[in-house]
């Protein structure tokens, strides 16, 4: 069997086609409705427990106990036209996904703070019609990651706080796609790969009040190596292929390194009732060269090549305090995509993207507040002419992708 695959006599197209839509590659940056309303430019502002994620160094400047939880609903929309020379259009079916957050923090009067966060910074899902032209690359793809992040922050001086944290990461995937036996045998089947695994990482943060009007935040989150284990289930495969043992295997191990992130931001509060935030996020995507796959029962190996390049997200956000209870927010972000044209896959349609955000925050009483955020994200049209990704043996996935998404979010916060 190995011989056959090596010789290319029988090419089984079993490729993971991971996912998402909302940030470059398969990152999700929606970690709180207030932050969403300000396009995520909150690395240097503080007033809620989502600081655990965005600027843990600021936790030491808060007081008392804060709890926050919420979710973002992601409604993706996508089209593919191609593969060239065909210009036939396929509409992505749009499964909703809902990355969610939970944060808690407690700050002691001596400037020592403890925080805990749970959030989903990578993942989400895409679904293409079962019989579409790219079925061997992606039908339904779902990737989820859950970060569990305890952190400790300490106010070193009156104007600076630092933080360090630990991350336990659990991830699961569920990928369904077509299998074919090109270029020789007719027939199609399906394969479903399911798996889960975990990894660990760390993070550090720094927050400073430079002047009463200016603050700055800096945070770093390490890369996370994930080892996943799971199963491959084949359906509708021609009997003869199965009898001859020509499928790659039933048990799968895969590994991938989630990228490290650097966050930097400043905030200016010098204008009456207005907070202006600037943020810059640098994503070390080059750690995602490939997802290596091993079929442990047969020893076959495969790899999904991504060859991502490092990229960034630039953010600007505004918050206007209408009165003591009501705040309104707006923002804009530009997200540079990490995916080279050659390696773009329909499971993760990607492009440089523009995000426009609006938000409202309302303090119901002393202790309870609620935030609403809305992000509309628009991908630049992506035209791929030099793909290395084959949807069938010898046929490349060149075409035009158009993607956009609506992401409403809500969170509740409690100051105890």
């Amino acid at each position: 069997m190995n011989t056959i695959i090596k010789n290319g006599l029988l090419v089984l197209i079993i490729l993971l086609g991971v996912i998402p839509v909302y940030s470059g590659g398969f990152q999700v940056n929606e970690h709180g409705a207030r932050a969403t309303g300000m396009a995520g430019a909150v690395y240097a502002t503080l007033n809620d427990a989502s600081a655990v994620h965005f600027n843990p160094g600021a936790l030491s400047f808060m007081d008392g106990t804060h709890i926050m939880f919420g979710t973002t609903l992601i409604f993706p929309k996508g089209k593919f036209r191609g593969p060239f020379p065909s210009v036939d259009q396929t509409d992505m079916e749009s499964p909703m996904s809902y990355p969610s957050v939970f944060y808690a923090s407690h700050t002691l009067s001596n400037g020592l703070a403890f925080g805990f966060g749970m959030f989903n910074p990578y993942g989400s899902g895409t679904k293409w019609p079962d019989n579409w032209v790219g079925r061997n690359l992606a039908m339904e793809s779902s990737l989820r990651t859950f970060f569990f992040n305890p952190t400790v922050s300490y106010r070193v001086t009156d104007y600076m706080g630092i933080a360090v944290g630990f991350n336990y990461v659990y991830s699961d995937i569920d990928l369904q796609q077509g299998v074919s036996f090109e270029p020789t045998f007719a027939g199609n089947g399906d394969v479903r790969l399911t798996g889960s695994g975990s990894g660990i990482g760390w993070n550090i943060g720094l927050y400073t009040n430079i002047t009463p009007e200016f603050s700055a935040g800096l945070a770093f989150r390490s890369g996370v190596g994930l080892d996943l284990e799971g199963d491959a289930e084949y359906t509708d495969i021609p009997r003869q292929i199965g009898e001859a043992g020509l499928l790659p295997g039933d048990k799968i191990e895969a590994s991938v390194t989630l990228p490290a992130n650097l966050f930097a931001g400043i905030a200016y509060t010098g204008i009456d009732k207005l907070t202006i935030g600037l943020g810059f996020q640098y994503v070390f995507w080059s750690s995602v060269e490939e997802i290596a796959l091993t079929f442990t029962d047969t020893g076959n190996e495969d790899a999904l090549v991504f060859n991502y390049v490092n990229s960034y997200i630039a953010r600007i956000g505004f918050e206007y305090q209408v009165n003591s209870d009501l705040a309104v927010r707006a923002g804009y972000l530009f997200d540079k995509n990490p995916t080279p044209d050659e390696y773009m896959r329909p499971g993760i349609p990607d492009a440089d993207r523009h995000g426009f955000t609006l938000g409202v925050g309302y303090q119901i009483n002393d202790k309870i507040g609620v935030d609403f955020g809305y992000l509309f994200i628009r991908f630049n049209e992506r035209r791929i002419e030099n793909s290395n990704v084959e949807y069938k043996t010898g046929a490349r996935m060149n075409g035009v992708y158009n993607v956009s998404g609506h992401l409403p979010s809500i969170n509740f916060k409690f100051n105890l």
């Binding site: 020379p85 206007y320 707006a330 035009v400």
Partner: protein, 440 residues
């Protein structure tokens, strides 16, 4: 207060603008230029089974859709390219794989249901399985001929002499602007596939071949002089590239070691053992009694001896000289299939991450009968025609993207297996079709 409100409006405005504006740009499929369209305004192909699109020993709709003339027409944007379609699994019934190990095929029962029989004009694809060169100009009654030759296709494809009394006449009746002509294969092939035991038709004599081809070409040239018809003619591939003669080694193979033990009885190491030898080998022919065989030599009709190979090669060479001379004399495009298939036979054809070869079944180019190409192989042939036509006539027919052609080697039935079934299967098999064939 003014500043933030203003900013809000700006963001709202920009957001609504971006959200509201046209979601994506128009893109269009490439179009065919006028000169190319004019050349293909009326395209007619004449030839034999290769032109008809026969594969896996049957002429059936799914294979005909990928005949090289159909592919050329599709690439050239021809909308009304008519073929004598026969419902799957066709005549005499397509072969499919029943089992991979040991390798076994099964022919479907014939389904001689024509799908396009009422077309009130001749077909654009006049390829007739079994036709030799002489059949292009032969005016024999079609029904009579089908009966005499025990070949239903003359009658099925040419139908009615009202449409034209011969292949040539039915082609010319369509006022063709482009004709492709590919004859000659069958003038030698039956000799080769029968291990040199078939008596060749008298018209397959090289001098008669030249005379008949000259007559056909002269008539085409005469039409061309009046109507501007363009003609492309293809030469014939060496028989030595087809899996039918290349799959079974002349040696008895030790199934334990995979090593050759000795030549089959009555076979020299230079002889070619044909696919038809398999049923005899399975019965013990060619194998000494000491090795479990019956001690009888392989019959002559399943072995192509060195002398017979030489005879075939000489004929192919002479036919191709004739074809080249005629192309040159009448200013036809020459499609050099012989050279192309020799290249592919030697080096394979790189298709993305896979290498297509002339190996039986697994190579991807030849169908289960070991002689006729798969749909993918048909695409390679179409591209040779397209290149020659583009070059000779200064047109731009886009080449076929080979990777987009669906594989055409089929399995007998689709069965559902559960993951548990796969766990029980032996994965260390199907090393090599040749070994399977010679294991006894």
């Amino acid at each position: 207060m003014k500043t933030p409100k203003f900013l809000m409006y700006v963001f709202l405005f920009v957001g609504i603008f971006i959200f509201g504006c046209e979601d994506f740009s128009e893109i269009e499929a490439p179009t065919i230029d006028q000169k190319t369209s004019e050349l293909l305004a009326s395209y007619v192909a004449i030839g034999n089974s290769l032109t008809a699109g026969l594969q896996s020993n049957s002429l059936y709709e799914s294979s005909q859709k990928y005949s090289y003339p159909a592919l050329i027409a599709r690439q050239g944007g021809v909308e009304d390219f008519q073929q004598p379609l026969i419902q799957d699994p066709g005549i005499p019934g397509r072969m499919r794989i029943e089992k991979i190990d040991p390798f076994a095929t099964k022919a479907d029962p014939p389904n001689p249901t024509p799908l396009n029989a009422t077309l009130p004009r001749p077909y654009n694809n006049l390829g007739i399985p079994g036709a030799i060169l002489f059949d292009a100009i032969d005016n024999e009654d079609f029904a009579t001929k089908s009966a005499q030759r025990n070949n239903p296709f003359f009658h099925l494809i040419l139908r009615d002499s009202q449409l034209g009394g011969s292949v040539f006449e039915q082609a010319i009746a369509q006022n063709p602007t482009l004709m492709t002509v590919w004859f000659g294969n069958n003038d030698i092939l039956s000799y080769a596939t029968s291990g040199g035991t078939t008596v060749l038709p008298t018209t397959a004599n090289p001098d008669l071949f030249t005379a008949i081809y000259s007559q056909l070409a002269g008539a085409l040239a005469q039409t061309a002089g009046v109507s501007g018809l363009k003609v492309a003619i293809a030469n014939i591939p060496d028989v030595s590239v087809i899996p039918f003669v290349n799959t079974v080694p002349p040696f008895i193979i030790n199934p334990e070691t995979g090593e050759p033990v000795m030549p089959f009885i009555g076979v020299t190491p230079q002889d070619k053992v044909l696919l038809t030898a398999l049923e005899f080998i399975n019965q013990g022919f060619g194998i000494p009694e000491a090795l479990g065989g019956n001690g009888q030599p392989l019959p002559g009709h399943v072995v192509l001896t060195v002398e017979e190979q030489q005879f075939v090669a000489d004929r192919v060479s002479r036919f191709n000289q004739t074809i080249a001379a005629i192309a040159s004399q009448f200013d036809f495009a020459l499609v050099d299939i012989q050279t192309r298939f020799n290249q592919i036979h030697a080096n394979g054809y790189q298709l993305g991450t896979a290498t297509l070869t002339t190996q039986f079944v697994t190579g991807g180019i030849f169908s289960l009968d070991g002689v006729h190409p798969t749909s993918v192989g048909s695409g390679l042939i179409a591209n040779e025609f397209i290149q020659a036509i583009n070059q000779k006539f200064g047109v731009q027919i886009p080449e076929v993207q080979i990777g987009t052609i669906p594989p055409s080697i089929e399995f007998v039935a689709k069965g559902l297996l559960t993951p548990n079934d796969f766990m029980k299967l032996d994965t260390n098999i199907f090393q090599d079709v040749v070994r399977l064939y010679t294991t006894y």
